[in-house]
């Protein structure tokens, strides 16, 4: 479950791959919080490579989103994979974690 840095500084970009589950939650939390720390005012996390998402993963996405807001950073989740979308729909969290402006219907 690696977090990859695609671009640093201004408009930093990251990508999450594989399982976003409790098995990796501990290491991932640290990595994500660190990513928030080094990023600029706006950052994007690409979720297209996430093929499994559980409650622990959802909590992390919520936490990072909230933490970003607290730090005054604009955090956008993009490229939601099918696995992510199905969980967000189940929990009705598309509004919170969906960043729908950036995922037009056509891309699904």
């Amino acid at each position: 479950m690696p977090l990859t840095t695609l671009a640093k500084g201004e408009g930093a970009q990251f990508r999450l791959d594989g399982e976003l589950t409790i098995f990796h939650a501990a290491s991932l939390k640290d990595a994500l919080i660190a990513a928030l720390g080094e990023g600029g005012p706006a950052l994007t996390i690409d979720l297209s490579g996430v093929d499994e998402l559980d409650t622990a993963g959802v909590q992390l996405l919520l936490l990072v989103k909230r933490e970003a807001a607290r730090l005054g950073r604009a955090l956008i989740y993009s490229g939601h994979s099918a696995a992510v979308i199905s969980v967000l729909e189940l929990l009705d969290l598309a509004g919170t974690l969906g960043d729908p402006l950036l995922i037009p219907n056509a891309s699904r």
Binding site: I22, L28, I33, D54, Q59, L60, L63, R66, E67, L90
Partner: protein, 727 residues
């Protein structure tokens, strides 16, 4: 394997367990009680009960249950195992045996001997301190026990909503315990419809202290379902103990909502909003609730215990119906259809058969040398039988390949969904048998090939439409026997392999040099090279972890071979060829100098005297066709002998033929394959060894390797000549 077979297996297993139980009881009688023996008895009863429960064989379950309870007391030391109890347990074992016989005779609904059963139950219950047999609890928990609970109309006003309202606050440990609230919610979706859900992140603490493995989320759910309360509560049965699960029925009491709002940590106003938004309460009802709540705060009584009160499982009335039944005479008609045998025993048998084959060959040899006609005849008769025994022994380990194939319908369904492709799966030849040990090792490589075919082979729907193909792609699994091998094919009607692209990629990767002449087949085989991947885009499915090189390696470890046939735009077939068994082969014995070799007989096409042939450049013209060959003498560096009249054995593997030059042809021979020791492990061209009738060792030639090597050598030679001519 279906449920009927499983039922027979249950009978078989129960009989074995009863025998083990009896043996342990006898042992205790003779040598005194030991923990081990007591445990064995307990486990036997436990296992019989467990298996019988799967089939709802209630008679055996309820009886064994009482016996097991007694055994449990014995096991934890609260009941001494004296002579009386020993004989009681032996009698119980006998009676369980009768119940098992009844199952075997398909008469499980009849009590074999109600009177005897009653007597035994009284004796057992007396030991448990239970007076009446009717008090023995029946523990069968079947799916049908959940009966609709009638909501008793009580005092107090009800809300108008027709939805269930579920308020879920999971224990922080739930995730660590391996349970995911998401899966409960998904399950909920299978027994009704979630009309409204609010995920509450309020309990999520500060980033610094948040424990990523703890669960913080809460859920407020409005749910439409015709399921009864017990079923809905049952969804949360595994988390109910440490989580706060509140379930309010349709048209629930206002009072219950008051309690709900009162007890939850979230601010009352916020919860109220959620309830109204989800339709659990109307705005007016909420006002009533809030007003009442402010007026008369409800005592903090855990609502869970109040609402989650379950119906007591109806006490089972012990079947007292003393229906008279005739003992079934045809009880024994359903004799054991199969016996369970440890694989190690089977392997030992096959080893012995191997030795028998060798000993038989030795006897043949002696008979032949003695030139004793009647001895020879007798030896031949024995040989025929030994051959049949060998074949019969090997079939014991044969299983249909359907065992591997059966997982693919689901796999194909899931992957095609994931890929957004429409793919149908056709399975043929599922009855084709192969050695059990191979079945296990075949599963993973096949899975990989199938994934690869679906991911890279079959085109996207759009591309198929453009190509004028049916929208639905077809994936085919096929198996058949062919000259001592089993052939397994995975075919797709996809885009086919692009010869030029593969070659380009291989050159780019440095796997081949640009001027190397390669046949189409050889080019296709490049995709099995480590580190080769044609897909530009590495996808989730195939692009991860193992590559096709691992597939090839796995197949080769089974002495098999992979071959690819592909037509651009029309599809690809991956063909796996495996020997039927790993243990014994029919061989063709040859000699070079003093050394003996064995060639798998099914790969031998013909033998030719080559004294009259032109043998330049290791290529011979056979009936007008060039046939590359290799001299085993040169290959294995054996000493030269003068004036030897060489012969050539033509072998074929897959579609390719090659010749092997030897000194002497010795004829057919059954070879028991022994694994190669350290000494020969590294030698290419040898796949195993075998022991001859006279005790000497012969090496088994690795024909696939030799054919390939010979082909390569001749191609290289041809191109070399070609170059010379061009210069």
């Amino acid at each position: 394997m279906d449920m009927e077979d499983a039922r027979d297996a249950l009978v078989q297993e129960a009989r074995e367990l009863l025998a083990a139980m009896e043996m342990a009881l006898m042992q205790i009688e003779a040598e005194g009680a030991s923990n081990e023996a007591i445990n064995a008895i307990f486990r036997a009863a436990h296992t019989i009960k467990g298996s019988a429960g799967l089939f709802a064989f209630e008679r055996i379950v309820s009886f064994t249950h009482i016996a097991e309870s007694v055994l449990d007391k014995v096991r934890n030391g609260s009941l001494p195992l004296d002579a009386n109890l020993l004989s009681l347990l032996l009698e119980c074992g006998d009676y369980i045996g009768e119940l098992v016989d009844a199952i075997a005779a398909r008469r499980e609904t009849e009590e074999p001997d109600p009177h005897r059963r009653g007597r035994l139950e009284v004796a057992l219950n007396a030991l448990l301190g239970v007076d009446s047999p009717a008090a023995a609890p029946l523990t069968v928990q079947s799916a049908s026990t959940g009966s609709a609970q009638i909501e008793v109309e009580g005092e107090g006003a009800s809300v108008s909503s027709d939805n269930w309202h579920l308020s879920l606050r999971f224990s922080p440990d739930v995730l660590r315990n391996g349970m995911d609230p998401l899966s409960f919610l998904r399950y909920l979706g299978t027994i009704g419809t979630i009309v409204h859900i609010v995920t509450l992140p309020d309990a999520l603490p500060d980033a610094l202290v948040m424990d990523p493995e703890a669960c913080y989320l809460g859920f407020e759910i409005d749910f439409v379902s015709s399921a009864d309360r017990q079923t809905i509560e049952g969804v949360f049965e595994f988390v109910r103990e440490d989580s706060e699960i509140r379930i309010l029925p349709p048209r629930g009491k206002i009072a219950e909502y008051i309690t709900l709002i009162h007890e939850l940590a979230e601010p009352a106003g916020r919860l109220g909003e959620i309830l109204v938004k989800g339709g659990a309460l109307t705005a007016t009802e909420l006002d009533t609730v809030l007003a009442q709540q402010a007026a008369e705060p409800v005592p903090a009584k855990p609502l869970g215990t109040l609402l989650v009160e379950q119906d007591k499982v109806p006490q089972a009335v012990v079947a007292a119906a003393l229906t008279k039944q005739k003992q079934g005479e045809e009880k024994r008609t359903q004799e054991q259809k199969f016996i369970k045998v440890e694989v190690s025993k089977l392997d030992a048998l096959i080893d012995l058969v191997g030795e028998l084959v060798i000993a038989g060959a030795a006897a043949n040899l002696v008979a032949h040398r003695e030139k004793h006609t009647r001895f020879e005849e007798a030896a031949r008769g024995i040989s025929t039988l030994v051959e049949q025994i060998r074949d019969a022994a090997l079939t014991l380990r044969m299983v249909p390949i359907g065992e591997v194939f059966q997982r693919f319908p689901r796999v194909v369904r899931d992957i095609s969904r994931e890929l957004g492709k429409e793919i149908q799966l056709l399975v043929t030849g599922a009855d084709t048998e192969l050695d059990k040990s191979m079945v296990e090792k075949l599963s993973d490589p096949l899975m990989h090939i199938v994934r690869n075919a679906m991911d890279h082979g079959i085109e996207s729907t759009e591309a198929r439409v453009m190509a004028g193909k049916p929208i639905e792609g077809t994936l085919r699994l096929n198996a058949y026997h062919e000259s001592g091998s089993i052939v397994i094919e995975v075919s797709d009607d996809g885009r086919g392999l692009d010869r030029d692209r593969i070659l380009g990629k291989a050159i780019e990767r440095g796997l081949v040099s640009p001027d190397q002449p390669l046949s189409e087949n050889e080019i296709f085989r490049l995709i099995f090279e480590p580190g080769f991947s044609t897909a530009e885009q590495v996808t989730n499915l195939s692009g991860r972890g193992v590559g096709m090189d691992v597939v090839k390696k796995n197949i080769e470890a089974l002495r098999g071979e992979v071959e690819i046939v592909s037509r651009l735009g029309q599809g690809t077939t991956v063909r796996i060829r495996l020997p039927l068994t790993l243990a014994i082969i029919d061989g063709f014995q040859v000699m070079v100098g003093d050394s003996q070799f064995v060639i798998p007989l099914e790969l031998v096409i013909e033998c030719i005297d080559i004294s009259s042939h032109d043998l330049r450049h290791n290529i011979l013209k056979l009936r007008g066709e060039p046939l590359p060959f290799v001299r085993l003498r040169e290959l294995f560096d054996l000493p030269d002998i003068e004036h030897v009249r060489e012969s050539l054995v033509v072998v074929q593997y897959g579609q390719q033929r090659a010749g092997l030059v030897v000194d002497k042809l010795l004829g057919e021979f059954q070879a028991v394959i022994k694994p190669l020791g350290l000494l020969f492990g590294g030698v290419k061209g040898i796949s195993g060894s075998t022991i001859l009738g006279d005790g000497r060792v012969a090496l088994i030639l690795d024909v696939p390797h030799l054919v390939q090597r010979t082909m390569r050598a001749s191609t290289a030679l041809l191109s070399h000549q070609h170059e010379k001519l061009n210069r």
